[in-house]
Every structure is written in structure tokens, then in C-alpha cells.
């Protein structure tokens, strides 16, 4: 079907997408969360008429604007990269994937950008009420934008509502609502946006704690902290709840990802959860070596997490690669064999159709329909190809969960010290607060590594491997754009951080 796979080009293309996505995700969480914080601050201003809240709103709005610009800059690349670097993907699933992207443009982007202009330039040009409405619409628009792209990403994790069309060699949508309301997409959206809210709350915590340590803009810092810590605490609850839901759905639709997250090589009834561990990096599917060099396990918890049922079986990597007849799990080898049969039948069908041999075409099509669900597996060589990089997924997952557990404690402690009115005296705690946004970024990026690396080798889970999804480009071409992106985004990031820190040092206007 496709030219011989150029692994090197594929690696660079994946690297480029990861690079642009990770850069983009530095800025997006702040846009998603700060936009709501701005709306909260401005609502307090309009409700109370207290000018202090207006100054607070304008101060955080300045930082929001600096971040927003580079978020937009990195975002446009993401959209077009689907076409430039993943052109087969664009064709094979464009019928489904393109729709949420266009909806994002129509419903979200214009709302966001139109009212962004009012929010920034409208203080003296529109009424107070309309300005507040605009700030809320920016928040809603930004998060609507996240909804559509995360629906699209959720669909990649768990493709539903579509069917393969052999005549056009692509997948076609059969139910827009199934795509939009897929439980995976919904939990993916809520988990990602609430984690973004949490991260933006940490950003406010970092800046405000720094002010308190320096004894500057104390009133602004405390007021900002009160709102941000409350927002962060509520968001943490959503993150935890939807995180649990994500693991539960992963057990159903991406069991390999869950096995990699937990470093579970051999499935178990009453499986233990590895709380802390050092994985054996040389461990390969089917070998007898110990999966861990060191681990601390919590008994039975993985079965509970994955199936919400004690005594349940959680499949391991080896079960999924080689099959487990006892548990009714089919190995990847059988699916690869059927996939290769599907590819061959598709070629025969197309040839018969082109030659006008309708009878043969119909007969072959019926055979193809028996095995078409496994067509994606046909592009894999060995059963072991379905295993993602286990150490990276395992560590990312554990870093995310560990840090995610600490954040609500941080927010709770801030609110406690604010209530006791002695936060400014807690120097050690304020220093921790200053560092908190960096831990937030670590957890957030780790979360995306779990989501995206954890589903390798698939671009579309179970249907389309990344090797088939790519564009037909030379390695040198992709290398060149990779380094162009690296240089330009790094330069712009340095500029952004410098501008941001200078604005923070300057503090709000009029103080």
C-alpha cells in the first residue's frame, strides 16, 4: 500500500510533532485557566466596585496577553502539521478528524479572538458590563476550542462512530454524536482542561508567593491567591476524579497503555499497583527478567483502579502481545495475520473493480469485510510492535500522579494560612509556592506523554499505525523543519519568559 517505511523519517516526524505539541502545551494551559481567573477577578471588580480588583484583573491580563500570543503562534503549526507531516493520516481519517477541527474554528476561535480584542482594548470603549461579558466569552471560547481538539484527540485514543470505506481507502464518519459524546473524549476533555486550570492556579501561586517573599504588592498577592487556590483546589478534585475515570476507560479501550503505565508485564488477578519503582530498562516482551529493579507495591489496587472490582484480572503486556487463552485474550500475532489478509484482499478488490470484474470484486469485498477491523495490524511486522516504550510511559505516569496528589495539599495549605492570616510569615512555604508552577508543568507534560507515547505505535488506536499515517517526505526535509521549529520556538520562549519576568518584576500599574 505504501512505500517502504523510512523509520528515521518517521522518528523525526514524530519528534517534530512532539516538539511543537510540547511547546504549545507550555502556553495553552495558562490560556485555558487564566482566562477563567480573569473572569473571576473582573466579576469581583464589577460586583464590589473595588478598584483593587480592576488592577488585579489588568495585571494578570497583561501576563495572559504575553502568553496568549505565543500560544496562538505555536497553535497554527499544530493544525497544519496534520497535513504537512501526516498527510496519509489526513486523508485516511480526515472525514472524521477534520469536522471537529472546523467546528473549533467556527464555534471557538472567533469567539476567543473577537472578544479578546474587547477585553484588551475595550476598557474605555465599551460598558463595564459588556467588558465583563467579553472576558467571560474569551474564557468560554478558549475552553470550547479545547473541547473540539480534545474530542478529536479522544477519538484517536478510542475511534468510534465510523467505518472503513474500501472504495476510497479511508475511514468515514457514521455518527457525529458518537464521536462528540464518546466517554473517552468527554473524560479526556474534562481531565485536560481541569489540569490546565490547576496549572494556571499554580502560576498565580508562583507569582503571588514571590511577591509575598519580597514583601511587594502584598494585597494583590493575597487576593489573587485566595481566588487561585480555591480554583486550584476545586480543579484538583476534577483532575483526580477524571484521572481515575481515564484509567478505567484505558483498561477497556487501551489495555496496553494501562499495562505500560503500571509496568505490568504479566497479567494478574488482584493485581498490585506499583506506587514507586525503578523499571528494568532491558526488559523485553516474553523474557523472564524481573520487570523492576526496585518497587513498592500496594496490594490489589490495580485491579480496583482498572476494573473497580477486587478479584478481577488485569492483562499485562505479555498477555496482550502473545494472548492469554485462559482469560480469552487474543494475541497481536493473530490480528497481524488477519490484518495482512485484509490488506491483500483490499488490493485484490481494487484491482477487480478497476478491471470491471464486479463478481470477483463483490466476493472479495465480502471476505475483506470479515477481517477489515484488523487492517491496521497488517502494517505491523511482529506482535511485539504493539508495545510502547514502557519506561517512559511508566515514569511519566508516576510523576504525574505523585505531583497531582501534592497540589491539592498545597492549595489547601495556602487557604489555611490565608485564613489564619499568617501566610507572609511562612517563608519556607512561600519558597515552595514559587517553585510550584514548575512542578505543575512537569506533571502536565508528563500527562501528555502518557496519553500520546502510551498509545504507540498507533496514530489511531488499533486502526492506523504512525508509520502509515506519515507524509512521504525525506528525512532531511523533516530534520530541517524540526530544527527550524526548535530554534524559533526556543528563541520565542526565551523572549516570552524574559518579558513575563520583567512584567512580574514591574508589578501592576499604579502600585
Amino acid at each position: 500500500m505504501l512505500e517502504q517505511l523510512d523509520v528515521s523519517q518517521l522518528s523525526w516526524a514524530r519528534g517534530q510533532f512532539a516538539l511543537t505539541a510540547m511547546y504549545h502545551w507550555i502556553f495553552v494551559p495558562l490560556t485555558l485557566g487564566l482566562s477563567f481567573l480573569l473572569a473571576f477577578f473582573e466579576t469581583l471588580y464589577v460586583k464590589t466596585g473595588n478598584e483593587q480588583w480592576k488592577r488585579i484583573t489588568k495585571f494578570w491580563m497583561t501576563l495572559f496577553g504575553i502568553n496568549f500570543a505565543i500560544g496562538v503562534a505555536t497553535g497554527i503549526i499544530m493544525e497544519f502539521e496534520f497535513g504537512t507531516n501526516w498527510s496519509n493520516y489526513s486523508w485516511m481519517v480526515g472525514d472524521i478528524f477534520g469536522a471537529p477541527l472546523a467546528a473549533e474554528g467556527i464555534f471557538a476561535f472567533f469567539l476567543e479572538t473577537t472578544f479578546f480584542a474587547v477585553m484588551f482594548f475595550g476598557w474605555n470603549r465599551v460598558s463595564k458590563g459588556f467588558h465583563l461579558l467579553s472576558t467571560w466569552l474569551v474564557a468560554i471560547g478558549s475552553n470550547l476550542s479545547a473541547l473540539w481538539i480534545l474530542v478529536a484527540n479522544g477519538w484517536m485514543q478510542h475511534p468510534v462512530g465510523m467505518q472503513f470505506n474500501p472504495d476510497r481507502a479511508r475511514f468515514e464518519m457514521e455518527s457525529f454524536w458518537q464521536v462528540l459524546l464518546s466517554p473517552v473524549a468527554v473524560s479526556h476533555f474534562v481531565h485536560t482542561t481541569s489540569s490546565a486550570f490547576l496549572l494556571s492556579a499554580l502560576f498565580v501561586v508562583t507569582v503571588s508567593c514571590w511577591y509575598l517573599l519580597k514583601g511587594r504588592h502584598v494585597a494583590l498577592a493575597k487576593k489573587s491567591l485566595a481566588v487561585a487556590a480555591t480554583f486550584g483546589l476545586i480543579s484538583s478534585a476534577f483532575v483526580a476524579f477524571t484521572g481515575d475515570e481515564s484509567a478505567y476507560t484505558a483498561a477497556r479501550v487501551q489495555p496496553m497503555k494501562l499495562a505500560a503505565m503500571e509496568g505490568l508485564w504479566d497479567g494478574e488477578v488482584n493485581a498490585d499497583l506499583v506506587a514507586v519503582g525503578i523499571v528494568n530498562p532491558g526488559k523485553k516482551p516474553g523474557d523472564d527478567s524481573d520487570p523492576f529493579q526496585f518497587e513498592i507495591k500496594l496490594p490489589y489496587l490495580l485491579s480496583l483502579l482498572a476494573n473497580r472490582e477486587l478479584g478481577s484480572f488485569v492483562p499485562g503486556i505479555n498477555d496482550l502481545v502473545y494472548g492469554n487463552a485462559e482469560q480469552g485474550i487474543e494475541g497481536a500475532g493473530d490480528r497481524i495475520a488477519r490484518g495482512k489478509q485484509a490488506i491483500s484482499l483490499l488490493a485484490t478488490y481494487k484491482q477487480a473493480r478497476d478491471e470491471g470484474d464486479a463478481v470477483t470484486a463483490e466476493a472479495v469485498l465480502q471476505q475483506f469485510n470479515q477481517v477489515r477491523d484488523d487492517i491496521g495490524y497488517g502494517y505491523l511486522s511482529r506482535p511485539e510492535d504493539i508495545v510502547p516504550p514502557v519506561p517512559l510511559v511508566f515514569y511519566s505516569f508516576h510523576v504525574m500522579v505523585a505531583l497531582g496528589t501534592l497540589f491539592p495539599l498545597l492549595f489547601g495549605a495556602i487557604l489555611f494560612f490565608l485564613y489564619k492570616d499568617n501566610l507572609s510569615q511562612q517563608k519556607w512555604f512561600l519558597r515552595l509556592g514559587v517553585l510550584s508552577v514548575f512542578f505543575g508543568y512537569l506533571a502536565s507534560q508528563a500527562g501528555w506523554i502518557v496519553a500520546e507515547v502510551g498509545r504507540q505505535p498507533w496514530a489511531i488506536q488499533g486502526l492506523l499505525p504512525v508509520g502509515v499515517a506519515r507524509s512521504n517526505l525525506t528525512t532531511t526535509t523533516v530534520q530541517m523543519t524540526f530544527f527550524m521549529f526548535l530554534i524559533i520556538f526556543t528563541t520565542l520562549l526565551i523572549a516570552e519568559v524574559r518579558i513575563m519576568t520583567r512584567q512580574i518584576q514591574n508589578g501592576p500599574e499604579g502600585e
Binding site: E3, F82, A99, A102, G105, F121, G122, E174, T491
Partner: protein
């Protein structure tokens, strides 16, 4: 809408993509204004006024470009896959110029911006000239064709190492690109003329609109003459076979008397009228006829590229790989679902227009240079 057949939906979606494309080209007055920034301004005050005038609109242009991409992806995914994955360098360079633009308004005057204000002004200039030139070159290939072929599974192979850059060596494409660059500058000058109340700039933008229209004319004439006589990529409606036909685009103009020839002629007249009213009559509203004219011209260009049994993204290497509305489109189900989503477009246009009027009710002037308002 649920009763439309696939061919009707394909036509409808070509129209919707055309409308978004036409609005985008109108909104490139932002890029045109950026192109004028370095040459039109005498001091920092003038620069600040121009930047702040354009700064309220740049995201609208940017977002329209993103929507243009999204609409093509959703409605004609094979074009998205073929052109973006094939003409890689052209699109990448276009995107790079938009990345540079996106940060420049915000960062230009901020302390600690690493590169200095001048560099960000050059970034805006690059976006306003190179970016638009490359977009024009890419659109030119709708008529001159590109070097690709598709296999039985619609996987694209590009047959030129330039990966799309080779299109810049066609005089037609290059002229199309330069026409768009000067048109954007005309629109930029007219927009600034309308939006800024600062006498020195009002006079200079009026002259700039006129001069840039003159610069645009030879390229426009070349494009029009070539369009009338060049070979076009026709499609046999029965078999779907693509074949070369001399005078195809002239035939399309005549076959589409309203949205082809009519829109083209009325559009061009309106653009000239907008400039003439500004330059000769001192009107400050030239942007509106010129803007409407631009929209009509682009609609006509898209109409003759895609309608009347024409391959809108032709292949020079393998005629039968050329993309037509029928071969490149999404399924009936997706186009129908997307059509319901598109019903929101008038609502979007309405609130964009409302906010535009609201923010521009008072023109930018000398007083705005000193107020405490947020500004770039």
C-alpha cells in the same frame, strides 16, 4: 439541507471554503498594513498608531486562515493531505511567517523582548510580504497545476525536490502572488486611512493606496490575460476523466455569468472605486467598496477554479491524479453534519461585525498615544 445529494454538498462546501478564503484575502489588509509600516511612518508616534490600529484586527485574519485550513480539512481532506503534505516547503514557510507575526504585536515594545523592537517590525514586514506572496503562489497552482501523483490509496508522491517552492518559478504564480501583495497593501492603506484620525497618516495612506494599486495593475493584467487563454484542467462529468482544454477558464467565466465574470468585473471596479474615492475625493471609507470588491474577486477566482467541471488542484505529472470537488471531498454524512455546523457562520459574522463597530466607533488619534489604555 439533509436532502442535498453529495454533488450539491460538494458545491456548497466549495462555496463556503471560497467565502472563508475571500474574507481572508480581504482581512490581509492587516498584512498589507504591516508591509507599509516601515516605509510609511516618519516617527515612533505614527508607528504606534499603525501598530495599534492593525493590532486590534490581526487575530481576526489569523483566525480566518486557521478556519480556512480547518474547513478544507473537513470538506476536502484529500486536498489537505495532498497539498500540505506535498507542497511542504511553501506551506511551512507561510506558517513560519505567521508564527513570527503572532508574537510581534505583543512583544515589540515590551521590555526584555530579547530581539529588540526593530526585529519584530521586520517580522511583521516579512509576514506582510513574503507570507502573502507565498499564499498567492500557492493559490496560483489551482490554475497552473502541481507536481504530484496519487496512488490507488490516495497516498501522495511529490515529483519535484522543491516540494512546492518550484511553483514560485512560474510567472503566472509569481504574478498572482505579487498581485495579492500589492492588493493587501492597497487594502492596508485604505483600512488605516479609515481607522486612524491623524492628518499626516491620512494623507500618506491615501497616496499609498493609489500607488500600490498602480503597482498591482501589471500583475493583475498578466494574470487575467493568461487566465483567459491558458490551458485549463477540465473534467468529463460522465467518466470523471481529467483533460486539458484551451480557454477552459474563459469558458468558466462565461458559464458562470454571476459568480464568475460578474463577480470578477464588479469586484475589480469596486476595488478601483475604493481607491479612487480615497485618493481623488478624500473619502475615508474607501476600504468598504475595495473590501467588498476583493471578496467578489476572490469568490470569482475560486468559482472558476472549482466549478463547471474543473479540477481545482490539478496535477501536471498525472492528469488523473488531479483533485476535483468529487474526488477530494468528505463523505455525504460528514458534509451534511458540517453543513449544520456551518449554520453558525452568520452568527459569528454578526458578532464580529458588532464588535468591530463597537471598538472602531472612535478612531485612533493623537490622544490615544498618551492615554492609559492598553496598547501595543
Amino acid at each position: 439541507m439533509g436532502n442535498l445529494d453529495l454533488a450539491q454538498l460538494q458545491q456548497l462546501w466549495w462555496l463556503l471554503v471560497s467565502v472563508v478564503g475571500a474574507l481572508f484575502i480581504f482581512l490581509t489588509f492587516v498584512q498589507g498594513g504591516q508591509g507599509l509600516l516601515l516605509t510609511l511612518t516618519r516617527d515612533e508616534d505614527e508607528k504606534t498608531l499603525i501598530i495599534n490600529s492593525l493590532g486590534k484586527k490581526w487575530e481576526l485574519t489569523f483566525t480566518t486562515l486557521v478556519l480556512f485550513g480547518g474547513a478544507f480539512f473537513a470538506a476536502f481532506p484529500l486536498f489537505y493531505a495532498t497539498s500540505f503534505g506535498g507542497a511542504y516547503w511553501v506551506w511551512m514557510l507561510i506558517l513560519f511567517t505567521f508564527v513570527l507575526q503572532a508574537v510581534s504585536y505583543e512583544y515589540r515594545r515590551k521590555p526584555g523582548n530579547l530581539l529588540g523592537a526593530r526585529v519584530y517590525e521586520y517580522f511583521l514586514f516579512i509576514n506582510g510580504t513574503v507570507g502573502i506572496l507565498l499564499i498567492g503562489i500557492a493559490v496560483g497552482t489551482f490554475f497552473t497545476g502541481s507536481n504530484f501523483s496519487l496512488n490507488a490509496y490516495n497516498s501522495v508522491t511529490w515529483h519535484n525536490p522543491g516540494r512546492g517552492i518550484e511553483a514560485a518559478f512560474s510567472l503566472f504564480n509569481l504574478s498572482f502572488g505579487l498581485f495579492l501583495v500589492f492588493l493587501a497593501r492597497v487594502l492596508g492603506a485604505l483600512y488605516l486611512n479609515n481607522n486612524i484620525d491623524y492628518p499626516p497618516l491620512v494623507a500618506k495612506t491615501s497616496v499609498a493606496a493609489f500607488k500600490n494599486l498602480l503597482y498591482a495593475l501589471p500583475f493583475l493584467l498578466y494574470v487575467l490575460v493568461r487566465l483567459l487563454f491558458m490551458q485549463g484542467y477540465a473534467v468529463d462529468p460522465q467518466s470523471g476523466t481529467v483533460f486539458l482544454q484551451r480557454g477552459k477558464y474563459l469558458a468558466n467565466l462565461l458559464a458562470l455569468p454571476v459568480n464568475g465574470l460578474g463577480f470578477l468585473l464588479i469586484g475589480l471596479v469596486l476595488v478601483v472605486l475604493g481607491v479612487a474615492l480615497t485618493y481623488f475625493k478624500g473619502s475615508r471609507k474607501g476600504i468598504w467598496p475595495a473590501g467588498l470588491g476583493t471578496v467578489l474577486v476572490v469568490l470569482a477566482v475560486f468559482a472558476i477554479a472549482g466549478y463547471n467541471n474543473t479540477a481545482f488542484y490539478p496535477s501536471r505529472v498525472d492528469l488523473q491524479s488531479s483533485l476535483t470537488l468529487a474526488t477530494a471531498s468528505s463523505s455525504h454524512y460528514t458534509l451534511t453534519a458540517m453543513s449544520y455546523i456551518a449554520l453558525a457562520i452568520p452568527v459569528v459574522l454578526a458578532y464580529v461585525a458588532y464588535v468591530w463597530r463597537l471598538l472602531d466607533a472612535r478612531k485612533l488619534g493623537a490622544a490615544d498615544l498618551t492615554t492609559g489604555d492598553e496598547k501595543y
